[in-house]
């Protein structure tokens, strides 16, 4: 694979800046005692990262499969390790998405987190460093380091700032699940590195560099082993049915901020796109039926459970399981529509999950609860909040005219070509998701006002209106102009499909 260096494109190591700016902020926060100054500094840092990530997105060259903004430093040369960061069309937009979510999380915790705000903000920034690292690392072991690094702030955030009484258990469960996945991930990565050493042209050296490994086909036997190891790790993270047990617990027990990250950043699906598809395409194609079946089961299962959830956060957890299933169905269709659709869908989930949790935050601030029993009739008092929530809900349903549509439509288009019957079943999920989202909306916002608190609730204030407006407009705009986002990934996705192309014929001959 070709690479364009950061020096050629922007003249400074922009990816390292993005990864380490939050670390600098953490250090800076250490010197601040004033509570207000603390929050402002942290927010300023998060906005700075967002600004730089926007520069990244603007400077990114579309229409090429090259990795861009590359920067490489030797790390452990004897083991073939290097500090190597770069982004391509698949990964580039995840960086601004992460930065955006961090800003939203900070804003939403402005008044709601009173316990040890300094440590909370530090944990959020640490998470940002690790997450951006995950999206930009192209050395497998470096990726693994960032992947593991993410565990610590996540654990602490759930354990210390969680709302539920079971938060300790939820945090532990999350960590154990992730460690199990990590073990498989590491073994898989090592297998890939070792397999490279025995390939002709490697000169007997190890390499864990994605760009190098992509040039070297992996033997079919190794591919199958690596597929299952990596697949397990990413399926756990996604979370993909039947490995989703930790997700509802973590979302419900953890703080809202953590829920934004867990529901909004689909790193498991990203892992499939980043490593599994390009490195072990034959195994993925051969087992794509399994991915498709699990995907469809998840789609149905998640949607059915979401239908009966009384709390927005649990609803979101299962809706998220359902959507990940749909994304996996898209990947398993092995064509450009399916892959583009999956990528678009998970980007949309980032926006929509954020929107829903933001709405939940607004509701929580006014009513003191997100339980449906406490709501009802809210739209009469807060029309702007109701409108915003409705737009986000429609985005989650993937209604045409919202950002959800293009992703879901492309996935169905791709899947109908490959797995016609499974795709037919998956269509029903869209109806179910419409059902659970709209039932939720109706119960929360329509009907009779049942409590004095709702009676007295005030509508969105200007600052809240701004945040909601930006998100709402983005969701609608992407519904009519999805090309703005798809243009980034089309070349890289075509290249990925090209890798899967010969694999399909191999699978067919078997």
């Amino acid at each position: 694979m070709n690479e364009i260096t950061a020096a050629e494109q922007v003249g400074f190591p922009i990816l390292s800046t993005l990864v380490f700016l939050p670390v600098v902020m953490i250090v800076a926060l250490g010197f601040i005692r004033n509570d207000r100054a603390l929050r402002r500094t942290a927010l300023a840092g998060a906005i700075a990262v967002l600004g730089v990530s926007v520069i990244l997105a603007v400077q990114f060259q579309r229409g090429t499969t090259d990795f861009q903004f590359g920067e490489q430093l030797p790390w452990v040369e004897s083991m073939g390790l290097s500090y190597h960061l770069a982004v391509d069309g698949v990964s580039v937009l995840f960086v601004p998405l992460t930065a955006l979510l961090v800003v939203v999380v900070m804003l939403s915790s402005w008044t709601s987190v009173q316990h040890q705000p300094k440590a909370y903000l530090m944990a959020v920034l640490a998470f940002e460093t690790a997450a951006i690292g995950v999206f930009t690392a192209v050395d497998l072991i470096l990726f693994f380091v960032f992947w593991e690094l993410m565990l610590i702030p996540t654990y602490v955030l759930i354990k210390v700032w969680g709302k539920g009484s079971q938060r300790g258990r939820a945090a532990l469960r999350y960590v154990l699940a992730m460690l199990l996945g990590s073990a498989a991930l590491l073994v898989g990565f090592v297998l890939l590195g070792v397999s490279y050493r025995s390939a002709p042209g490697s000169g007997g050296a190890l390499s864990f560099d994605l760009l190098v490994l992509m040039e070297t086909p992996v033997p079919v036997g190794t591919q199958t082993a690596v597929f299952f190891l990596l697949g397990f790790a990413f399926a756990l993270k996604a979370p993909m049915f039947p490995f989703h047990g930790w997700m509802p617990a973590a979302l419900l027990e953890g703080p809202i901020g953590m829920a934004v990250f867990l529901a909004g950043l689909k790193m498991g699906v990203f892992g499939f796109l980043r490593f599994v598809l390009p490195l072990v395409p034959d195994a993925f194609a051969a087992w794509s039926w399994l991915v498709a079946v699990l995907g469809v089961v998840a789609v149905l299962y998640g949607a059915l459970i979401a239908l009966v959830q009384p709390d927005l956060r649990r609803l979101l957890a299962f809706a998220s399981v359902s959507h990940v299933g749909l994304a996996m169905l898209g990947l398993s269709s092995l064509n450009a529509q399916g892959l583009q659709g999956a990528l678009f869908l998970i980007m949309n989930l980032g926006l929509v999950s954020t929107g829903l949790l933001l709405a939940a935050g607004f509701v929580h601030q006014r009513i003191g609860s997100t339980d449906l029993a406490a709501l009802g009739g809210l739209a009469q008092r807060t029309p702007a909040l109701a409108t915003f929530t409705l737009v986000v809900c429609l985005g989650a349903i993937a209604l045409p005219g919202t950002s959800g549509f293009a992703g879901e439509f492309l996935i169905l288009l791709g899947a109908f070509g490959t797995h016609t019957w499974l795709a037919t079943i998956a269509v029903t999920t869209v109806i179910l998701s419409a059902a659970y989202m709209l039932v939720f909306f109706e119960r929360a916002f329509h009907g009779r006002i049942r409590s004095k608190i709702v009676e007295a609730a005030a509508d969105l204030r200007p600052r809240e209106m701004l945040a909601a407006g930006i998100l709402g407009v983005t969701i609608v705009a992407l519904g009519f102009f999805p090309a703005a986002m798809l243009g980034y990934s089309s070349a890289s996705v075509d290249e990925l499909v090209g890798r899967l192309g010969p694999a399909i014929t191999v699978a067919a001959e078997d």
Binding site: Q337, Q340, P383, L394, I397, L399, P400, G401, F405, A406, F409, L410, L412, L413, F416, G417, A423, T424, V427, T428, V430, I431, A434, L438, E442, H446, G447, G479, F480, F481, P482, A483, L486
Partner: protein
Amino acid sequence: MDVTGITPLLALLAPILGAAGVVLLRHHPPARELCGVLAGIVQLGLVASLVPAVRDGGTVSFTLSTFLPQASIELRADALGVVLAGTAAMLWVLTTLYAMGYFGTAPEPVLTRFHACLCLTMAATIGVAFSANLITLFLFYEVLTVITYPLVTHTGTPEAIKGGRRYLAYQLGAAIAFLLPAIVLTYITADTFDFVPGGIFGPDASGTLLVIVYVLYLLGIAKAALMPVHSWLPAAMVAPVPVSALLHAVAVVNVGVFCVMRVVLDVYGVERTGELGLGVLTLVLTSVTILVASLYALRLDNLKGILAYSTIGQLSYMMLGMALLSPGGRTGAVLHLVGHSFAKITLFFAVGSIYLATHRTLASELRGLGRQLPWTMAAFAIGAISIIGLPPTVGFVAKYFLFVGAVEAGQWAVLVVLAVSTLLSAGYYLRILRSALFDAPVTVPAGGSGGTAALPRVPTITERGALVLVPTLLTATATLVLGVAPGWLLDLIRVSIG
């Protein structure tokens, strides 16, 4: 001639800007309402300016956004689209004026929402009318569903919410469960989403699959209210009259039938539809719908209920005409789309005026109203005569073409269906008219403040305001004008059916 032009986009943007204006002027009625009227007039002008370009079979297209090499959001105005858009735009202006008279112009947030949604409904309708491919069509079709939901639930009562829920469930459910798969399967078979006159399927496409996909289209386009996906329409009757008028005459059901026409003309093509026996299939389904809906209407007393079932039957007339596949049938279908809009909106406006003046909603309560509300009842009579299909109204001309079409196609059974259903609709409309014109007025017990308490008296009833009356009379007049001089419209329609 096929050209690229910005006019279709401007026609789409006019109502969107109108909606923005409505929201900005929310504290300043009636400027708020007039903003909607202005947007409607601008839109009408833009649509009219497209007529010369499409009259000779040309198109004007504009690509909004591309999201796959094969799939783009593209607007393309052709004759059929202009017919729908023009009808909708004209009636939108009148509906807005009528709504001003019906609801008044208080600076209430509910009315701001109403007028803003009205504008956006028009944007979605124009979007459907000018869709160049199935994706664009689906997009605006769904937007239309969502944007009309707040209109259906306008009053906010529990019944309204319940009716609205049914409306939404039917529309979204059918569109996702049937229409979306139909579109995807179409693409997989034809390798394109584009509308092409004469159809897009290659000669080697599997017949069985095409039949299945066609049935999916008919079920998925619930807005056309073909049985068994019709029951949202009576449920949506909980909405106030101006909304019902909009649903029945301007936007929603017209869009539904229009989509079916697009599928027949530009996805399957007339020839393919005939070869696969889909015409006959549609004839059977629509005939059943027409007869059952007429029988239903016959035993109802609620005025809006009667109109709802009448609409279900009339929509099937249009699809039946299209399914005859003969030139006469297709011409009658499109003409009936226009004619029914004017006639049905007249009926709704009249029913609304009656409600405003008397708070009566039952057909049996209209006794003797002809003398008390002469203008309103005259308009009602014209609308009813057009729906029955008697001269000199546009309904007669449309029905004439349907009869001709049935003869051309050799579908004698259809002639019987048309004849029977004409008798049935005459049954329920003439019953109302006779009672309104010739029976003695409804009386009420005299007021109790002393005097001769025993004698019942006729309450004083007068017409309510020019803003409700003038739109009603205008649409009634249009029903007559189109009946007497349909020539120019027929020229456009002949182009539109290929």
